[in-house]
């Protein structure tokens, strides 16, 4: 909303309140109707259209940016050795002001046939990246929301450089925000110093030795070191900085990864067409991590930011953690092939991980695969079928799901206290042992078919699978009275079944005209079969006190749970019929009363039900590659059908609360009282505010209403506070993900080729989702919180020009 629209909606809140109280049937009102008192009436405050500022916070913090990247590659070699060197540089500006990313990389690969039997391969990769983070989404719900959210929510009536420290404006701001100060997003992006650095060095050396014909022993060792740093300074001009006279924090994480592998390969052939390839290997991996976070507050001035931490008056004890985990595997595999017709692979692996409980560290994972290339059989040769291959496999795989180390152990954590102002050491038991913690395993059965027909003018692949995962590694919510809110354990069985297919059609295949069309799609259905607990469901993680996702036996994973919303009450005649919503007034949501009980009729948590499913029905992509002489044109389209998004901020953004901006659609779709009111402005002239007709009968969103009202049983705030289906949106979309047009110049001398291409990524999206991006997920890393949009960094449209020179 613009400032004028926003102020209009604030006035409308007051008109709505007045109308509802005035028209209330007898017995509903508990107090006197207060006279109309418009906040933007041209006397106390300017009239909506006379407001001095109209700031579009999104415009203020987003920008169109320019990025460039360069890479240079050399390669060469002789009979016994080959090398390649690649240097890269990337410089991207972020679409949020003051965010950027820069990276330098150097990669070198070296192969050398040292002797006839001994070969050496060495790879080195070094990278250095630095960036200014934008504090975009930080997963927090209250005061410290990231700038994406505050740009959506900050009222447009404040000036761009609005500073709540200004005493004259402070009350104005403070009253609107109930005394809470939310950072102006522009202040955050311009004042906050948030630097990240990342260094990494990867080295891997491989030696292989041919012991005899077909028998090769390979030894490999790798070291991977990376360090990431983040330094922040919140100057006194930001809310957080003001709390503490400047807040600096420095953190870093070190990771040292060691890898070794010893592998023996043996290829041989028996008789006419029996080809065997046998492999035995053992691998070992260790990860050593250290992280350090320290915080400093109360600085004499902002000048030196986080560079002079010694000047801080409050130094907090650093939070340092160390962890180590190891993975040890033994792998055996036999590949067998007969005359390019029958293929058989048998694999067996044993994996041991330190992360699991003593005596439960090892998992055994066998698998078998079989393929039959039917097209090689005599009876199909020479027909329209170029390739027909039937594939089948069955196997078991294991997962550690990236769980933290030490979760099977009891943990005694530091929890210090003070007596008489002296600090004393203290400890609490922050984790109890789980002596059963072990691998999550999945049994899987696949069947697939590859088909190429009519001289490969039609190529198809189709795969069907069935997966059953048991001993799922889950952080299960426990009753809080247990003393621990959740526990990592192996529990339950889930089932996934699905179908994937792709079709490719080469429309033209000529010397200088090529056109390939391909289409792929996939369908997956998952179901929680059994939890193995007394309860038949577990709760998803809490997001701002709401637990939106739920895991219910017999249902897809992470379904949304909430009240079902059946539109908006339009008139006073409709309200009394809603027995379960005592005190309901026009302009409020109607909720479905699912749990009917004689004692207790009102809408409450028991009326919550499944209101959505984040899992998509169908995911697809379409690809076209066209080239004509020196031109080429690539188009990539992807999309999704079905699947829901829970837009966390939606209910706030249509509430038309004074402390937030609202969606512009509320101006037309919200319930609006049919009254007009005339005010006399400062200039003595009358101004009419409000709408004669209102939106009664057509409103689909709830009414803007001042917080307090004298209606009995006014309890809407809380009902609206429960997750409800109005926040659920269909995530279906169709996106032109990339379109790229290129032209290649060829030269005879010095330069071989120059390819110039222009591409647009994320060109447009067709969707009914009103948020930023239907593909969003604020919690990408958390599979327990699928389909939640909580202010994540929006995806941007990128135009790029690429030049590729080959010498």
């Amino acid at each position: 909303m613009s400032a004028e629209e926003w102020a209009t909606s604030m006035n409308q809140r007051e008109l709505n309140r007045y109308y509802i109280e005035m028209t209330a049937p007898a017995g509903i009102m508990t107090g006197e109707v207060a006279p109309i008192n418009l906040p933007y009436d041209g006397v106390k405050n300017p009239l909506p259209w006379d407001l001095p500022n109209d700031t579009d916070w999104q415009d203020a913090i987003y920008r169109t940016v320019f990025s460039h990247q360069h890479s240079l590659q050399f390669s060469g070699g002789n009979k016994t050795s080959r090398y390649s060197v690649n240097l890269g540089y990337v410089n991207q500006e972020g679409i949020i002001l003051n965010s950027d990313y820069e990276r330098f990389t150097a990669v070198s690969n070296y192969h050398n046939q040292l002797t006839k039997r001994l070969k050496l391969v060495n790879n080195v990769q070094a990278a250095y990246a630095l960036s200014n983070a934008a504090n975009a989404s930080n997963g927090e719900v209250y005061g410290n929301r990231g700038v994406v959210t505050s740009a959506l929510m900050m009222q447009p009536i404040f000036a761009l450089n609005y500073d709540y420290q200004d005493p004259d404006e402070d009350d104005d701001y403070s009253d609107l925000n109930y005394g809470q100060r939310i950072n102006n997003p522009y202040t955050i992006v311009t004042k906050l110093v948030d630097n990240k650095k990342n260094y990494s060095l990867v080295e891997s050396l491989e030696l292989s030795y041919d012991i005899m014909d077909g028998l090769t022993l390979t030894g490999k060792a790798g070291v991977n070191y990376s360090r990431s740093e983040r330094n922040q300074y919140w100057p006194i001009s930001t809310t957080r900085g003001k709390n503490a006279n400047g807040v600096a924090s420095t953190s870093y994480g070190d990771l040292l990864k060691l890898l070794t592998e010893l592998r023996l390969n043996y290829n041989f052939r028996i008789g006419g067409g029996h080809v065997f390839d046998i492999m035995a290997a053992t691998t070992y991996e260790s990860n050593d991590r250290k992280s350090n976070y320290s915080k400093y507050e109360n600085f004499p001035s902002d000048d030196l930011g986080y560079y002079q931490l010694g000047s801080a008056l409050s130094l907090f004890p650093p939070d340092i953690s160390y962890s180590e985990n190891k993975l040890n595997s033994y792998i055996g595999r036999i590949n067998y092939k007969y005359r390019d017709r029958y293929y058989l692979t048998a694999t067996f692996r044993a994996d041991g991980s330190t992360r699991f409980a003593k005596n439960r560290k090892w998992g055994f994972f066998p698998s078998m695969a079989f393929a039959w290339r039917i097209s090689e059989e005599q009876f199909l040769k020479g027909g329209v079928v170029d390739n027909l291959k039937l594939r089948m496999s069955a196997g078991r795989t294991g997962s550690e799901s990236g769980i933290e180390p030490y979760m099977s152990l009891g943990i005694l954590s530091e929890s210090s206290y003070t007596f008489n102002d002296s600090k004393v050491p203290g400890y609490v038991v922050s984790n109890i042992p789980n002596p059963e913690l072990t691998w999550e395993t999945t049994d899987q059965f696949d069947m697939g078919l590859d088909v190429a027909l009519f001289d490969s003018r039609l190529m198809m692949t189709i795969d069907a699978y069935y997966k059953r995962t048991h001993d799922m590694l889950q952080n299960v919510a426990l009753p809080p009275s247990f003393g621990y809110a959740s526990k990592l354990m192996n529990m339950g069985v889930i089932e996934n079944k699905g179908l994937e297919f792709s079709i490719s059609v080469p429309v033209f295949r000529r010397q200088d005209l090529n056109w390939m069309l391909s289409f792929n799609g996939s369908v997956n259905r998952n179901k929680l079969v059994d939890l193995g607990m007394d309860n038949n469901f577990i709760l998803g993680p809490s997001i701002g006190g709401m637990r939106v996702n739920r895991f219910i036996e017999g249902q897809p994973l992470g379904v949304f749970w909430g009240l079902k919303c059946n539109g908006v009450i339009q008139t006073w005649e409709e309200a009394p019929a809603l027995e379960a919503q005592p005190g309901a007034v026009p302009g409020e949501y109607i909720f479905e009363n699912i749990y009917k009980d004689e004692d207790y009729q009102a809408i409450n948590e028991r009326d919550m039900t499944i209101i959505g499913d984040p899992n998509p029905d169908f995911v697809f992509g379409f690809n076209s590659h066209f080239s004509y002489k020196a031109f080429d044109l690539d188009i990539l389209v992807n999309g999704q059908l079905g699947g829901d998004i829970f837009w966390y901020d939606y209910s706030i953004m249509i509430a038309q609360n004074q402390n937030y901006n609202s969606l512009a659609s509320t101006l037309t779709d919200a319930w609006i009282a049919p009254i007009q009111y005339t005010v006399t402005g400062k200039d003595g002239r009358p101004y009419t505010i409000g709408s004669k007709t209102g939106t009664i009968g057509s409103a689909t969103m709830p009414a803007a209403r001042a917080r307090d009202s004298y209606i009995a049983g006014n309890n809407k705030v809380y009902r609206n506070g429960l997750p409800n289906s109005s926040n659920i949106f269909d995530a279906s979309f169709l996106r032109l993900a990339n379109i790229s047009l290129g032209y290649t110049f060829r030269f005879k001398k010095y330069l071989k080729a120059l390819k110039v291409s222009l591409s647009v990524s994320n060109a447009f999206t067709l969707t009914s989702y009103p948020g930023y991006d239907p593909e969003t997920s604020s919690y990408v890393k958390s599979p327990m919180r699928q389909g939640i949009d909580l202010g994540s960094y929006p995806s941007s449209r990128t135009y790029s020009l690429n030049c590729n020179l080959t010498f």
Binding site: G143, A244, L409, S416, V424, Y484
Partner: protein
């Protein structure tokens, strides 16, 4: 060839590694609790759980005061405690769920400490082992007492939680909960040490639970049982009426509190303002038990920030400065000459405990100097500023800000050494007065103890004449009203209000006055039986199959 194969085989065999985990940045609980120091460290950790934000650091006392009529805030943290008759959303509200979780976190940590101390090897000093167990039992009893007062029936867990596959526990009855609380406190009476006592070469640090803390808490428990049973209408506080005889428990309370008063560790601070001096309140005898904070990074409290006005030159940021006494509450309790939340009051608890004259930050006195609240010392006059002549009385719509938590030594958040008073000596006298009067039926029997508290701050003492001015059908009812008022003035915003109105049957009247005074109409009326307890956290109900359904009314 053979040799080569052997080497390969050996290489494979040796490539395995030890997969045991050897953490280096935390200890194994099974290897701890082995000597005197470790037992004390583990005890300190349990005390530290009281400092959790959802417990005494902020939410629990404020929710108790805010639930009735004593906390003005627009902060969403307390919305369902304060607003509307609807129950929906209350059980899921973040403040309620985090308090529930945090109080039980403390319980479990206390349970662990008790079990581990009992199992500690014989090398530990026996008197210390018993003291540590008693300290854990004190914290457990205090926390169960908070739970049973706020929620009525709750799960009773007296052993550490290990079996996470079967984490259920049913609701325990109110008599069972009180039995557990009283058993713990009786153990504490025998095994806690006195203030600062040195036994077997070990010091009982100031701030640890002491014998009189246990005795006072036990007296307070008895009084809560007795008065709840006495005031019960047969629906509200029914379990108390059914199981506890008021006179028995008034008598137990009286006996126990008399032991407290006779203790050497007992003492009333002479000057009320000295209770609130950060340097003093850790050592004052007035603080029979307090949650300790220190002006050390990571160890400080924040109370001073919550109640001061915004725009103080002090950086009162964000949600701070958000709390105060609501105007409707102030209006009602300013009507009586002896009780005035206004500058006309001569009561030091008002003149020194409230920011009555605050107007804005540019106020200057006649000499052009900025003013500070009168008792702020050490020359630090630029931090809190108030207007000069006291000419501006607080308007009825003004939120009254609180000065008793002011900490002039602090410039940043979370760095105050102000302790949170859990048990204060003043309450002993008010409880004694109440128990004596309830037992004898004669209000005059309570005047002496009662006036020890009021007399510290005011020259107007309670007498027959004043008593006759209070609302009530008889002298006993009027005396109870005087008790409630005195508790308001002595303990405002220390977290007493919910439990006082609940045990004295005064909740509905308080809420009615509050609403009649012009509180938002959405304020909770507190006229339903279920208002006497809070709903159980929805997370608990859904994950604890032994509970089944939410409490009646919610």
């Amino acid at each position: 060839m053979k040799c080569r194969l052997l080497i390969i085989a050996a290489a494979f065999a040796l490539s395995g590694c030890n997969l045991d985990e050897h953490p280096i940045d935390f200890k194994d609980p099974d290897q701890f609790y082995k000597n005197d120091s470790e037992l004390q460290y583990a005890t300190n950790g349990v005390y530290a759980t009281l400092r959790n934000n959802a417990y005494y650091r902020q939410l629990f006392p404020l929710a108790c005061d805010g639930y009735i009529d004593m906390l003005q805030t627009s902060n969403t943290l307390f919305m369902p405690f304060q607003n509307t008759s609807s129950s929906s959303g209350f059980a899921q509200h973040s403040t309620l769920t985090s308090m529930w979780k945090t109080l039980y976190y403390t319980i479990n940590q206390a349970n662990i400490l008790i079990e581990k101390s009992e199992q500690a090897p014989s090398g530990v000093t026996e008197s210390l082992r018993r003291r540590v167990i008693a300290e854990a039992k004190f914290i457990r009893a205090l926390t169960y007492f908070n739970l049973v007062r706020a929620w009525d029936e709750v799960p009773l867990r007296l052993t550490p939680s290990y079996d996470f596959v079967h984490p259920e526990a049913p609701l325990a009855s109110i008599p069972d909960l009180y039995k557990a609380i009283i058993d713990d406190l009786k153990y504490c009476e025998d095994h806690l040490w006195n203030r600062g006592e040195i036994r077997d070469g070990i010091t009982n640090d100031i701030g640890r639970a002491t014998v009189i803390a246990a005795k006072m808490l036990l007296g307070k428990v008895y009084l809560h049982m007795a008065s709840s049973a006495r005031s019960s209408d047969g629906i509200r506080n029914k379990a108390y009426k059914d199981h506890f005889d008021p006179n028995t428990y008034y008598q137990l309370c009286l006996n126990k509190l008399q032991e407290v008063v006779e203790s050497e560790d007992f003492g009333l601070e002479e000057q009320w303002k000295d209770i609130w001096t950060p340097k003093n309140n850790g050592t004052s005898k007035e603080m029979i038990f307090s949650v300790q904070f220190a002006p050390i990074a990571g160890q400080g409290s924040n109370y001073f920030l919550m109640f001061i006005p915004k725009n103080c030159t002090y950086n009162a940021p964000g949600t701070f400065g958000a709390y105060g006494l609501p105007p409707q509450f102030v209006k009602y309790y300013s009507q009586h000459p002896n009780y005035r939340f206004s500058p006309e009051s001569t009561d030091k608890r008002i003149t020194e405990g409230l920011l009555l004259k605050y107007v804005d930050k540019t106020a200057l006195d006649a000499n052009g100097e900025m003013l500070s609240v009168s008792y702020v010392r050490n020359g630090n006059t630029f931090r809190y500023q108030y207007d000069a002549g006291g000419s501006k009385l607080p308007a009825t719509n003004t939120v009254l800000r609180i000065a008793k938590w002011l900490d002039p030594d602090v410039t940043t958040a979370e760095m105050s050494g102000l302790d949170w008073p859990v048990l204060r000596a003043a309450e002993v006298y008010l409880m004694l007065a109440e128990a004596k009067v309830e037992l004898s039926g004669n209000p005059a029997d309570g005047f002496e103890d009662y006036n020890r508290v009021r007399g510290r701050c005011s020259d107007d003492l309670l007498d027959e004449e004043e008593l006759s001015n209070y609302e009530g059908t008889d002298d006993m009812a009027r005396f109870r009203e005087a008790i409630i008022r005195e508790r308001i003035f002595e303990f405002y915003l220390e977290g007493y209000r919910f439990f006082d109105t609940k045990r004295l049957g005064a909740m509905q009247a308080a809420a009615e006055r509050f609403i009649a005074g012009g509180a938002p109409a959405s304020s909770k009326k507190k006229d339903q039986p279920y208002h006497y307890y809070w709903p159980i956290s929805q997370d608990e109900i859904e994950a604890n199959s032994a509970i089944g359904s939410q409490k009646e009314g919610y």
